[in-house]
């Protein structure tokens, strides 16, 4: 087992900025592009993914000595898929409308490589507390990234934020932003901004 010297706080903070899953590791791009058309969809998707990430990290980390190497992938997928099914039911119980607007993407959380990636790379090799911190950090980082894409797309594409109109009636909405292509434009914009800041920091003495 690798020696883990990083503090728990560091495990949490790294997911927010330094190793942000969307803007730095470029993982989970499918939901990041597809369901970030409104801030509410982005937030719901982020929270649902965070929940699955957290619960699977707890299970994988607790069971890491019990799961043999040979059956680890099938075990992780089984655990992840079960929590995704649970999220699916919970969302339907909370709001059918919201569940419908996320469509097939709830079920597709199973194949979000961020979750399996963290289970394989982190939770399966670390104790419970660092794993939980890592999952929380990655979850919050993923949610913030989706929210920052979703907010821009909703403001420009629909003239509102969380369904609250922001502009007077005459505002000309920029429809392309809520369409799939808008997801690519806004994601690319954020990638440039985040990576530019990273580069500046790396270069500055």
């Amino acid at each position: 087992m690798p020696v883990n010297k990083a503090s728990n706080t560091d495990e949490f903070v790294k997911g927010l900025w330094r190793d942000n899953p969307v803007f730095i590791m470029v993982l989970g791009m499918c939901p990041a592009l597809a369901v970030s058309n409104t801030a509410l969809n982005a937030l719901t998707m982020g929270l649902a993914t965070s929940f699955v990430l957290l619960m699977s990290a707890i299970c994988v980390s607790s069971l890491r000595h019990f799961i043999p190497r040979e059956t680890r992938i099938v075990s992780y997928i089984c655990i992840i898929a079960s929590f995704v099914t649970a999220v699916d039911y919970l969302l339907q119980a909370i709001s059918l409308e919201l569940h419908k607007s996320l469509g097939a993407f709830i079920a597709l959380i199973v194949v979000n490589c961020l979750i399996l990636g963290r289970a394989e790379a982190f939770s399966s090799r670390n104790r419970l507390v660092p794993s939980v911190m890592d999952a929380l950090g990655m979850g919050v980082g993923f949610t913030l990234a989706l929210l920052s894409i979703g907010a821009v797309r909703e403001i420009l594409g629909a003239g509102s934020l969380f369904n609250v109109p922001l502009f007077p009636d005459g505002y000309q909405t920029w429809t392309v932003m809520v369409l799939p292509s808008g997801g690519f434009f806004v994601t690319a914009f954020w990638l440039v901004v985040v990576n530019w800041i990273h580069q500046r920091r790396a270069l500055s003495p």
Partner: protein, 235 residues
């Protein structure tokens, strides 16, 4: 699996592998069943509310709606328990029958699509349409819910019966986008051909089954039945 064990670890016994998969599978199954049981009642209630809202949306004239079903002998009667594909009769403020909201189901591109549509007795046409449940491709198939020209199909889609009263005078047929020439044709969506055609076929199958039954029973159900049979879906 070439028989060379990894250097750092001995090969795991088959028993340990079976054990891990069995235990994890059992735990996961237990969790899913628990969550399912805990959320079942709430989801059923949400579905009922969503259905009531959808009935209201496709048949806005109706003030009172009454669920009906066919019994084994093929006779129409008011339903106490909603069947899997519910049908509602809608009555206006004067208790006169104005239309019916009918649920239809059929295979789309990914999975079954459930739709609700309204049939108007006066106009003998389908006058409203809403997708209740679909898993169609986001951005392509799901355009059947948003595309204005597709929705416009269901402002007055001809569903007249022929002289015998047993089948539609003209079957509802889906056509390619821009090729609609008759009031019984459903103008499809380029890029969502399979889904939009599926909707046309669902409507044809369901209307062929229900419109003859509803028209045959039109006089019997012309007035809203006594209050206790009513469900306030239209309220």
């Amino acid at each position: 699996m070439n028989g060379t064990p990894a250097l750092d670890k001995l090969p795991t016994s088959a028993l340990a592998m079976y054990r891990s998969i069995m235990v994890i599978g059992a735990l996961c199954a237990l969790m899913i069943v628990t969550v399912f049981n805990a959320t079942e009642a709430r989801i059923a209630r949400n579905r009922e509310q969503a259905l009531a809202a959808a009935v209201n949306a496709v048949l806005p004239e109706a003030r009172v709606t009454v669920p009906v079903a066919l019994d084994a002998a093929g006779a129409l009667h008011t339903a106490d328990v909603l069947p899997a594909l519910p049908v509602f009769l809608g009555y206006d403020a004067d208790n006169q029958l104005v239309g019916a909201a009918i649920t239809g189901i059929g295979m789309g591109y990914q999975d079954n699509i459930r739709v609700l549509y309204a049939y108007s007795f006066e106009r003998q046409a389908i006058i409203g349409f809403k997708v209740l449940e679909s898993k169609e491709t986001p951005g392509l198939g799901d355009r059947v819910e948003t595309e204005a020209h597709f929705i416009a199909n269901f402002e007055a889609l001809d569903a007249q019966l022929d002289a015998t009263g047993n089948s539609l005078a003209n079957a509802i047929v889906p056509v390619k986008q821009g090729e609609k020439n008759n009031p019984w044709e459903v103008d499809g969506i380029t890029g969502a051909t399979i889904t939009s055609f599926a909707i046309g076929n669902i409507l044809n199958d369901s209307a062929s089954e229900w419109v003859p039954v509803l028209e045959a029973n039109r006089q019997v159900f012309a007035q809203a039945p006594a209050q206790e049979g009513n469900r306030g879906a239209g309220e």
